[in-house]
Amino acid sequence: MRMACEECRCSAEITQDKWEKLDEIIAKYKGRPGALIQVLHEAQELIGYLPREAQVRVAEGLDIPLSEVYSVVTFYALFSLKPKGRHQINVCKGTACYVRGADRILEKLEDTLGITEGDTTSDGRFSIEVVRCMGACGLGPVIRVDDDIYARLKPDRVPEILKKYD
């Protein structure tokens, strides 16, 4: 469950340059049908995620209530409210992996990193995300860290794997 207090309200690292680009994106779509989704999409590509300040800027720029902007952002799974970590951990929870204990892998990851699925560690090192089938069903349970695949994983290998990434 997400709560207000956990959500990122700190000033994100949006550089002056990015603010200007964001304003350009807003100007480009303003007044066009479907502008909000388009702008959010490009804003996310620009910044990497959609921090509160960016959403306020979009709301102001397109003259759309902030509540509506946030509503759209949280409705579509493709939008992210949190910055991604330097290393992205995808845990497969497709049926095959699930049956072979993907849950225990996820639990171990969450315990080790002190975050839950969907979150990023406070040092910005890792994000965990649950994905549906990665197409490696015979090798489950499977996780992917950046471009590396780890197959037939046992929970106790998790710490050793994480050590490889900084």
Binding site: L66, S67, E68, S71
Partner: protein, 576 residues
């Protein structure tokens, strides 16, 4: 008119094309249950409590969104329909706290009533329940998302009627919630505190911040001199809290009930409304004569004030600097009245009975302490007072009527009509006319500014000056006028704005339900009160005259500025 004939439960019904099955059934006297539906405001077909069987259709149809067709055969009470409704209710209840006994809406909850009507005795699938913290961040509105059934009525009223957009769906699926953006507290967003969302919420998910315990405590404290003021609209509505029909005037009964509850003095906000007219009327004349900022806009509706502070801060200089009657009363109770009665203002506890949740916010504004103390100590809505009267076992309808106390209980019909949209304007015109022309106004009824039309206009000839006025109620209508003012296209001298549809009789603290039919009956009661008064012009109020002689000096004088006028705060539309 293009008429369509259909059959509902065996009855032939003729209705205009485009009518929904639900409306057609209503016309035929067939009661279909609804939950998410709110006439004209929330017609979304999402809860599916209102399903009916339509012959030839593959599935059950949601009657609130399905238009009638020629020759349609509708059945509203078949085993399949009853089963579907029960399933819908059971699903809602499987994720609902069973707290009816301790819920503010116990006995007045649409969900509870439906569970009762459909004889739900147990809920088969008690699933995992989502739990959310209560939001008690504002002085006026409490949100308990756990009791929310996601019907979206609050959000529709907030966005379509009030155009505030404080609430929207957040998130998806199980953890979704109708809430301010970022699941934020209501105190962190631009919310008018108007309580219109409370009025339409079918459950206890939205309610007023309850101040009854503070008031009971003050009443029980022998050191406190507890005075109460009753807003103009309350006498036309609080009867509904005590089982009387909408539109019943209970003025004298209300006074008697308040005395029975133990208030030391029962005074009237209507008195302060008369005083407001003296100050505001003179402010208008002054602005017209000396080139002040026009149009001048009324300032007695605190939901409206918070709205303009957030959404049109650049227009703040248009606002009259007059405090609302509630706050004028508070400031005088702890100065003038304290002096006159020889009571230490520290011991005076001022309670307001208001139609309004935003008044709770207003009373807590830091600038509302011009007496040196909080000018108003506690604000009760009509609903809360209703609860206190019922708790004390007083039969409001049967109690022998009594009169208000002197001096702050004396008022005129002009004060009384503050409770309905257009009333402040009409009251002001009655006084301004006589002050400016020096002639007697023989017909005091300004019909053009009365009634439920969203924006009303009128003009009055004042000794050669054609004064143009406009009136709006509901913030969406206010926005229409403000956009004109912003563009310099508002040819008015004076604008009255009330935050709530219908004015204070439709305030967010009023009895539930409140709808247009009920609003109209309450408005009738307000004008009945006015017609029944001996004095109908604020400047004729003898106590107001005495107050100026003994204490204030003259309207807009030094003391008035200190006690009766205020300033405003520009606020952001976003993170506050």
């Amino acid at each position: 008119m293009d008429l369509v004939t259909l059959t509902i439960d065996g009855q032939r019904v003729q209705v205009p094309r485009g009518t929904t099955i639900l409306e057609a059934a209503e016309a035929a006297g067939v009661d279909i249950p609804t939950l998410c539906y709110l006439k004209d405001i929330n017609v979304v077909g999402s809860c599916r409590v209102c399903v009916v069987e339509v012959e030839g259709a593959k599935s059950l149809q949601a009657s609130c969104v399905t238009p009638v067709g020629e020759g349609m055969v509708v059945r509203t009470n078949t085993p399949a329909v009853r089963e579907a409704r029960r399933t819908v209710l059971e699903l809602i209840l499987s994720n609902h706290p069973f707290e009816c006994l301790t819920c503010v809406r116990n006995g007045n909850c649409e969900l509870q009533a439906l569970a009762n009507r459909f004889g739900i005795r147990d809920v088969e699938y008690m699933g995992e329940r989502a739990t959310f913290p209560r939001d008690e961040s504002t002085p006026a509105i409490v949100r308990d998302p756990n009791k929310c059934i996601l019907c979206r009525r609050c959000m529709s009223v907030c966005s379509k009627v009030q155009t505030v957009f404080a609430l929207a769906p957040n998130g998806r699926g199980f953890d979704s919630m109708i809430a301010p953006a970022f699941f934020d507290d209501l105190s962190n967003v631009a919310c008018a505190q108007c309580g219109q969302c409370i009025l339409v919420c079918p459950t206890g998910a939205l309610s007023e911040r309850d101040h009854t315990q503070e008031v009971w405590a003050a009443l029980a404290d022998p050191r406190k001199h507890v005075v109460v003021q009753t807003a103009p609209a309350v006498r036309a509505t609080v009867g509904e809290e005590c089982g009387l029909p909408a539109g019943t005037l209970v003025t004298g009964n209300l006074v008697a009930a308040l005395r029975r509850l133990g208030f030391d003095r029962v005074f009237d906000t209507d008195f302060a409304a008369d005083l407001t007219i003296m100050e505001e009327g003179h402010e208008l004349i002054e602005r017209i004569e000396h080139g002040g900022r026009l149009p001048m806009i009324t300032s007695c509706s605190p939901g409206w004030i918070k709205f303009i502070e957030h959404f049109y801060p650049e227009l703040l200089p248009h606002l009259s600097t007059c405090k609302s009657p509630q706050q004028m009363f508070g400031a005088l109770a702890k100065t003038y009245y304290a002096e006159k009665s020889g009571i230490d203002p520290r011991d005076i506890f001022v309670v307001s009975v208001m139609p309004c949740t935003a008044k709770k916010f207003e009373a807590k504004r830091p600038e509302m302490t011009s007496s040196g103390y909080p000018d108003v100590d506690a604000v009760l809505t009509s609903r809360e007072l209703g609860r206190m009267i019922r708790e004390a076992g007083i039969d409001l309808g049967a109690i022998e009527p009594e009169d208000y106390d002197l001096p702050l209980g004396i008022s005129t019909g002009a004060g009384a009509i503050f409770g309905a949209t257009g009333g402040v304007m009409e009251a002001a015109l009655r006084t301004v006319y006589e002050v400016v022309t020096g002639k007697e106004l023989t017909n005091v009824d300004f019909e053009d500014v009365r009634g439920l039309a969203g924006v009303k206009e009128a003009s009055v000839d004042l000794a050669g000056l054609n004064v143009r006025v406009a009136v709006a109620h509901g913030l969406g209508n206010a926005r229409k006028l403000l956009d004109k003012v912003k563009k310099g296209e508002a040819p008015y001298h004076f604008i009255e704005i009330m935050c709530c549809p219908g004015g204070c009789i439709g305030g967010g603290g009023q009895p539930i339900p409140t709808n247009d039919e009920i609003r109209a009956r309450r408005i009738d009661a307000i004008y009945r009160e006015d017609r029944g008064m001996k004095l109908r012009k604020s400047h004729e109020n003898p106590v107001v005259q005495e107050l100026y002689r003994e204490f204030l000096g003259k309207p807009l004088g030094h003391k008035s500025h200190e006690l009766l006028h205020t300033r405003y705060t520009a606020r952001s539309r976003y993170v506050v």
